[in-house]
């Protein structure tokens, strides 16, 4: 990726994907996020850093946690935050994606946070606007802030990422989280595995830099981190697994399968969880193993760091016209 803001710690205009980002840029986000974790634990959580800036959440796909996380992040940095509910917008009346982008661009928004059901849709908008764009998930492509918050969670728990063995388990085929995590964990020196039934492993996934397993125990054996993914039934064309109970039997994370991982292995899930589908309820709630709630906390801090870094580049460049 070409630097759009040379000299900056995060020399990019947008955050569209993890693929192509270099380790120093990734570490700049994580290091800054660490400071925001502390700020968020204070009684006074608010700063004026982004006062006068407008952040718009443009979610073409339903989301509560990611949208709320971005909203909090923006507000804690002092930005004005607007949530555009797509179902009530002109998009529902047939306006094209590019028309929507041009309209929002004319409103002098500084940061657009976009989620869309189609891979590449966020880039399509980013190519047409003057503001900074953060991809909050595009189809089955990438979800970069999720990978960053996962990395922050791991680093704060284990003190490192390099050399860790990390298993991503479940619906790899439809997971933008898995793709972003594979790229990020590779860039920071972890050894990545993906574990799924063959119908949920996309073609040539190994070429992205991971080992593929179709046996859960073998896949998580010796792993430091077990990342579970949601079974995304809404993105499946036809039945890729015969039934929920069969999926849980062979790929659901329970204590029996978890025994194959390292004794101190931690369990992660990007949410929302399907309890009893990809993860056993007891495992999910195990306060000694599961860091699922911590991930949510890290999410706000990571998004504050991203907003901070990207708006610095807006200042470094010309103001949006």
């Amino acid at each position: 990726m070409v630097a759009d803001a040379p000299g900056s710690a995060f020399p990019h205009r947008h955050l569209l994907a993890i693929e192509g980002l270099h380790p120093p840029a990734l570490l700049a986000v994580l290091d800054l996020a660490d400071t925001y974790v502390e700020q968020n634990r204070d009684a006074d959580k608010k700063r004026a850093l982004l006062r006068g800036r407008t952040l718009m959440n443009l979610f073409f796909e339903a989301s509560t946690r990611t949208r709320t996380s971005f909203e909090l992040a923006g507000k804690r940095l002092g930005a004005d935050v607007i949530n555009m509910a797509v179902s009530t917008s002109s998009v529902a009346k047939g306006e094209t994606l590019i028309d929507t982008a041009m309209t929002l661009n004319a409103m002098q928004v500084d940061v657009l946070v976009i989620r869309h059901a189609e891979s590449g849709a966020v880039k399509l908008i980013a190519d047409k606007v003057n503001c900074a764009v953060i991809n909050a998930g595009d189809g089955t492509h990438e979800h970069p802030t999720q990978a960053l918050l996962d990395a922050l969670t791991i680093r704060r728990r284990t003190g490192r990422i390099s050399g860790l063995r990390v298993a991503n388990c479940g619906d790899i085929a439809h997971s933008r989280v898995a793709r972003s995590n594979i790229h990020l964990l590779n860039a920071l020196g972890a050894r990545v595995r993906v574990v799924a039934p063959r119908t949920l492993l996309p073609a040539a996934i190994e070429r992205l830099g991971c080992e593929a397993f179709d046996d859960m125990r073998a896949g998580i054996e010796g792993c430091d981190i077990v990342m579970m993914l949601r079974l995304q039934t809404e993105r499946m064309h036809g039945a890729l697994v015969p039934s929920i109970r069969e999926f849980f039997r062979f790929f659901g994370l329970d204590y029996a399968k978890l025994a194959a991982a390292r004794a101190e292995a931690i369990i992660m899930h990007p949410g929302p969880m399907n309890r009893g589908v990809e993860i056993d309820s007891e495992v999910a709630d195990d306060i000694h193993r599961s860091v699922i709630r911590e991930q949510v906390e890290m999410g706000v801090a990571v998004r504050m760091a991203c907003l901070d870094l990207l708006t610095r580049n807006l200042l470094a460049n010309a103001r949006p016209s």
């Binding site: 994606l97 189609e118 891979s119 399509l124 595009d138 992205l208 064309h237």
Partner: protein, 438 residues
Amino acid sequence: MSASARTAYLNARLLDPASGLDAPGALLVEEGAIAEVGPGLFPAGASSPGLPEGAEVVDCAGHCLAPGLIDMRVQLREPGEEQKETLASASLAAAAGGVTTMVALPNTSPPIDDPALVDFVLRRAREAGIVRILPYAAVTKGLAGRELAEMGLLAEAGAVAFSDGERAVADALVMRRALAYARNFGLLVAQHPEEPSLAAGGAMNEGETATRLGLAGIPAAAEAMMVERDLRLVALTGGRYHAAHLSTAEAIAAVRGAKERGLPVTCETAPPYFALNELAVGDYRTFAKLSPPLRAEEDRLAVVEGLKDGTIDAIASDHAPQDTESKRLPFALAANGGSGLETLLAVTLELYHNGALSLLEAIARLTLAPAEILGLAAGRLGKGRPADLVLFDPERAWKVNADKLVSKSKNSPFDGRPVEGRVLRTVVGGRTVFEVES
């Protein structure tokens, strides 16, 4: 210029794949047909004895004079989607590309599945009056893949072959009947070879690039398995079968085997499949979204090999015009296809420039081969043949600029590509329909 006038093309490099002629010479057109042609004709140029008085003289300046291109697979969008292309706009694009005959797929709205609609296409083509347009007619009613269309009546009305356009005739029993029934009329069935259940939901070739981009893939096997199935039905019925736009190594290997066994099988490919691979999709570039999808590099090399050894008979543009609204969308939602008529010759000539084919072989794939497959009189520089000609400079370099295409469809997978080979003049039935601005 009237078609009845005489025109002498002097000082040309004559290229005629039918006779194997590649030599300096001249050609005389009379009454819209080739009256004289050969290396020894009019040796003294415009002052040659025997040059008819009053004949218009075109000095070809040593450039190549070949039969006009016969593009055996184009989509013309009329009737029904005239905002994307019309027979008239496509005709102008064809003329600019050296194409003198287009064979139009029936996937219009309504589809060409009724003799009255064949009449419509032929009448509109006459009204446009620029290049020759011949229709494919539907294999099945409504292109729905269930009941056979009235093949006999469609053939009588002027259909030159049958095809369900961009849809495969997927049902084996229907395909068996189509191949068997089409034998009555001596016409071939051109298949879009793709197993639809395996390709469903796919946006590009299955593999690493699709996985990186998070796009659902179409496996190469979807093409090979449909070709292999069809070849068994050809063996069963003896029907003439043509596999359109082959893009995969395995499908080409299947056709190669069938030809060795003597089955009545032909096939074609299109420039994107020997000049590009799936990496052209890059960062969700919808101009590179085609059907079939751009494939892996090994497949591209197999297409070149198939052209070299003659397994692939012909090259067609697979012109599939789309308007901006159909292309400026997230990749999976964007329409398949691009403009192809104006880049057909130049991109095909890459095969000559890079040594894969001789110039005569490259031209044969665009002229003689489709003429033979479809039983057309054009495609040869022979006495009495229609004076459908293209004059081109195989070395002249230019850069494809989608915005400047003559076609209504301003998108091309070759946008920005530097190419060599410029059409200088296009002649249909003796009449010049295109001349390059010098």
